[in-house]
Amino acid sequence: MNEAFLVAVLALPALGAAGAALCPDRAGRWCGTVFAALAFVASLLLGTAHPAGWFSYAPSGQGAPPIVPWTSVDVSWVPALDLRLHFGVDGVSYPLVVLTTLLTLLCCLYTLWHVPAGGRGNTLVALLLVVEIGMLGTFLALDLVLFFVFFEVVLLPMYAIIAGWGGDQRRHAARKFALYTLFGSVLLLVGVFTVVAAAGTADLVTLTSGAVTLTRTTQLAAFTLLAIAFAVKSPLWPLHTWLPDAHTQAPTVGSVLLAGVLLKMGTYGLIRVAVGVAPEGARWASPLLGTLAVAAILVGCLVCLAQTELKRLIAYSSVGHMGFVLLGVATLTATGIQAALIGNVAHGIITGLLFFLAGAVKDRFHTGDLAVLGGLRERSPWLSGLLAFAAIASLGLPGLAGFWGEAFAVVAAFERGGAGWVTLGVLAAIGGALTAAYFMRLLGKVTHGAASPAVEAPPLPAIRISGPELVAWSPLVVLALLVGLVPALVLGLSEAPVQSLIEAVTR
C-alpha cells in the first residue's frame, strides 16, 4: 500500500501535466490543479508509512545506516547500464516532499484565478507539474544516476516558466538561470560518475551505509565536485548571482517554487549525497563551507539593506537564509543538520508566502520599486498585515518557523567549538540582527507613512484580497506558526536518520 502512495506521488503530477497540456486553457488548469491536489493527498498518506508514527522522536538505532527508507520501490530500468528506478522516502526527504506537493498545489490554485501575462494558463500549470515531478524525483531518488536525472528535469520547464511568463527582462534572466545551473549540473554529472566509477554502484543506500569505502582522494574530489554543484543551486555565495535575476523576473508562482523548493534541492543534495557519500571530504571541506556560508549570510543581509526592488530584496534574503542552512550543514553536528533541515522547510514556507505577497503587491500597484511604494497599510490593512507577518516570520522571530533553523545553526557552530567556529557563530548571529534591519526597512518603505500616488491609484475593490489568494496564502500562514510552535513536525521525523548520518560522518 505504501509503495502505491510512493508511485502515486510521482505519477499523479505526470498525469496532471499531460492532462493540463492536452485540455483547453480553463479545463486544463482545473485538471492540473485536481491532480496536484491528489498528489498532495498522496504525499500526506505516504506519511502513514512512517514506522513510529507522527510527532514521535524515533529512537536512533545505534549503527543503523543513514538511509533507512520507510518504503521504497526498486525496479530495473536500463539493465545494460545497471540503471535502476529506486525510489524511497525517509524522515529527511519526507518534509520536503510534502512541502513540494503543497506549494505546487497552492501555485496551481493561484493560477486558476490569475494567469500572468505571457502565455496560456494550462501550459503554465503543465510546466509547474513537470517541475514538481523533477523536485519530487530528486527528493525520492535512492539511486545516484536517477537523482541526477531528476535534478536536471527541473531545469528546462523552469526556464520556460521564467522566459514565458516573466517580467521585462525575462529572457536574459531565464538564460542566466539555465546556463548557470547547467554549469553546476556538469560538475554534478562528473561528481556522480566519479563516485559511481569508484564505488561500482549508484545505489545511495549502499553508498552512504559505509559498506563501500572510497579512497580519501576520491572522496575529496567527489565532495568538491558535488558541493560546488549543490552550492550553485542552494545558492552559496559567491555562486548566487543567477538567483536575484531569476526570482525577480519569474512570475509569482515561479518565484514561489524557485525559492520554496528548488533551492532546497541543493541543500538536500548536500546533506544526502555529498556528505553521505563522501564524509571524509565533508570533514575536510567543512571549515571552508562554513566560512562561505557565513559570508553568504552577511553579504546577503548587507545587499538586502541597500536593495530598492521588492522582489529582488526577497530574492537576496534567500541568500542569507540559505547561508544559515549551509552553516548548519557545515558544522557536521546532529544539531546543525537538524537545524538545516528545519531551516529548509521554514524558508520554503515563509519565502513562498513572501513571494506570493510581493506578487500581490506588484499585481495591484504595478511596481515593486521601494521608493515608489508606501503607505500600504492605509489602503489595504490586511495585505499589509500579512506582509508584516511574513517579514516577521522571515527575520526569525522565536515562536515562528524561521527561528529554529537560524538560532540552532548558531548553537551548532558553538557546539562544534574552537575559536573559528565560535567566530562564525557570532558573525551569523550578527547577520540575524541585520536581517531584522532590512525587513524593518522593507516594512517601513512599503507599509508605513502616507499612501504614495502609486498605492493611491487603483480603486479599492481592485486591491481587496480575493478568495483564491486567501486560499493560497492561509496554509502558509498557519504552517509558519505551527512549525514554529511544534517543530517536532519536522525534527521528529529526521532525528533518527540524522543521528545515523552523523555517526557515519564521525566514524
Partner: protein, 617 residues
Amino acid sequence: MSVDVLGPLLPVVPLVAALSGFVLPLRSRTAAAALGIAGAAGALVVAILLAAKVEEPFETVVDWVRIGDLTVTGGVRIDSAATYVAVAVGVVALAVQVYSTTYLHDDDRYPPYAAQVSLFTAAMLLVVVAGDLILLLVGWEVMGICSYLLIGHDRRLSEAPRAAVKAFLVTRVGDVGFLLGIVLLGVNAGSFWITQVLASLPGLPAATVTAAALLLLAGVAGKSAQFPLHTWLPDAMAGPTPISALIHAATMVAAGIYVVTRLYPVFVLGDPALPVLGVMAVITVLIGAFAATAQDDIKRVLAWSTVSQIGYMAAALAVGAPAVALFHLLTHAAFKALLFLGAGSVIHAVGSNSMSAMGGLRKRMPGTFWSMTIGLGALIGLPPLAGFWSKDAVLHAASSAGAGWLPGLVYGVGLAGVLVTAWYAGRLWLRTFFGAPRSPAAETAHEPPWPMALPVLVLAVPSALLGLLAFVDGFGARLNPFDLAEVDLAHVGAETAAPLSALVVGLVLVWALWRRDTAGDPARFLGPARSTFDNAFWLDTVQDRLVVRPVVALARGAAVADQRVVDGAVEGTGQSTTDAGNILAAWHRAGLPRAATALLAGVLLLGLAAALYGSAT
C-alpha cells in the same frame, strides 16, 4: 486548580485573547475591547491565585523540542517573586486595556491594537514564568516585535514608524548578545533548562560564565534601556500613551531587570559582570535624570525618568541586592503606569504633549491632579509613598554592601539622582498643574470619561501603599530568588536623612526658580547645559555616526560589489563567450578563396604534424 495548571495558564490566557483578536474584522471594536479586557483580567486572576498559592518555588518540565543532542524544554518555573511580577503585569495590562477603549475611541484599527496589547502581555508573562532559556527568548523577542507594532500604531504621527523601527533594532542589537549568551550557557551546560543551567554553573570554566554573563547583559541593556542602548526609549513615546504605560511600567523595560534576578548566579559567578552592570547603571541614572530636566514634552520627561529609575534597579542588582531591585520594579510599575495614564488624561484634555500648552490644570482636573501628585511623590521618594521605601532600600543596599568602589559610587550617584529627580518631577508638577493656563485648550480642560479616570485612580492606591509591603513579614525573603544575604527592605534610620535632604533641596530649588515667573520654564536656568540635556548628551547623533551610517555605507558597498564584481564576473564570462563565438563565427563566414586557402593550410599542417610524429616514433 493546582499550581501546575495555573502556571502554564498564565501566558496562555492573554495569548488566546491575542490570537482570536487578530482575526476579528476591523469594525468589531466592542468585541475587540471585550476580548482584550477579558484576556488581561483572566491573566490577573490567574496571577493572584498563583501569588496566593505559591509558597515554595515549583516547576513543570516537558520536552518541547529535541534538536540534535540538545533538548529544549517547555515548562514553567515559578516562585513568589515571579507571581508578584505577574500580578503587576496583570494590573497594568488590565488598566491599559480599559483605558485604551476610551483613549483610542476614534481609532479605526482597534482590534489589532487590542490583540497586540494582549500578545505583549502574554509575552511578558512568558518571560516571567519561563523555565527554559529558549522559551524565555520566545517571550523576550515577541515582546520586542509587539513594541515595534504598537509604537508604530498611530498612523497620524509621521515619526511613529521611525521610532518603532529604532525601538526594535536597538533592542535587537542587544539581543544578538542575549542569544549568544543563551547559546553559550546552553551548549556548555548541555541543556537550556534554567534549573540545570544554574546547577552546572560551578563546573563551567570561569571565562565561559563571564562571557555568557556579559553577553546576556547586552540584551538586558537593550530591553531595559540601559546605557548605551537606552536611546530607543524616549523616541518610543510616539506610541499611544497607554502603550507607553505598558512598556515603561510592567513589561519590556522590566523584563531585563527581572531576567537578571532570574539568572542571578550567572552574573555573580561571571565576574566582572556585576561591576559592568553597576557602571552602566550609574551612567544611566545620571543621563536619564539630567535629560528629563530639559524636556518640554510631558511624556518625554516621564520616559527619561524611566531610564533613570531602571538605572536604580540595575544598580541594586550590581550591589548584590536582587530583592531590592524587584521591590523597586514593583513600586515603579505602579507609579509609572499611573503617571503615564495620568499624563494621557492631561494630553487628552489639552490636545498636546507640550507642557508649554498646559498650566493651571489643578482646578479643572482635580482627580487627575491628586493621582498624579501621588505618582510624582512616589517617583521622587516622598515618604510614606511607595517609591520612598524602594528607593531608600536601593540606597541602603549600596551603603551596606561593604567594601569596594562600586557601592560608594552607586550611593553617591543615587543620592545625586534623588536631587535631580525631585527637581524635574517638581518642574513637571508645577508646569502642568499650577500657574495660569497657557493655551485655550488648557482653559477649558476637563476630567476624562470614567474608563480613563478609573484606572488612574485605582493605580494611585498601590502607588501610595505598596511600600508598606516591606513591613510584611517574610516579604523580602520571598523576593529573594536565591539564598542571598537578606536585605532590609523597610529601612528607616539616621542615614535616611541624606536622601530626604537631597529631595527637599531639589524641590525647593525648582520651586524657587518657578516662582520668579510662573509662566516660564525653570529649565531656562540650566543655561548652556539645557540643549545638551534636551538632546540627551547628543548620544543619538553619536549612535548615528558610529553605527547607523557605517552600516548603511557598508550595505551600499556590498550591493555595488556584489553587482559589479561577483555578478560582473558571471555576466562578463557570458559576454566574452558570446564575443568569442561571434569572432569565430565571423571567421567561418569567409568567402570561397580564403576558405579554400585555410583548408589547404590545415591539411598541410596536419600532414606535417603526422609526418613529424611518424618520424619521431
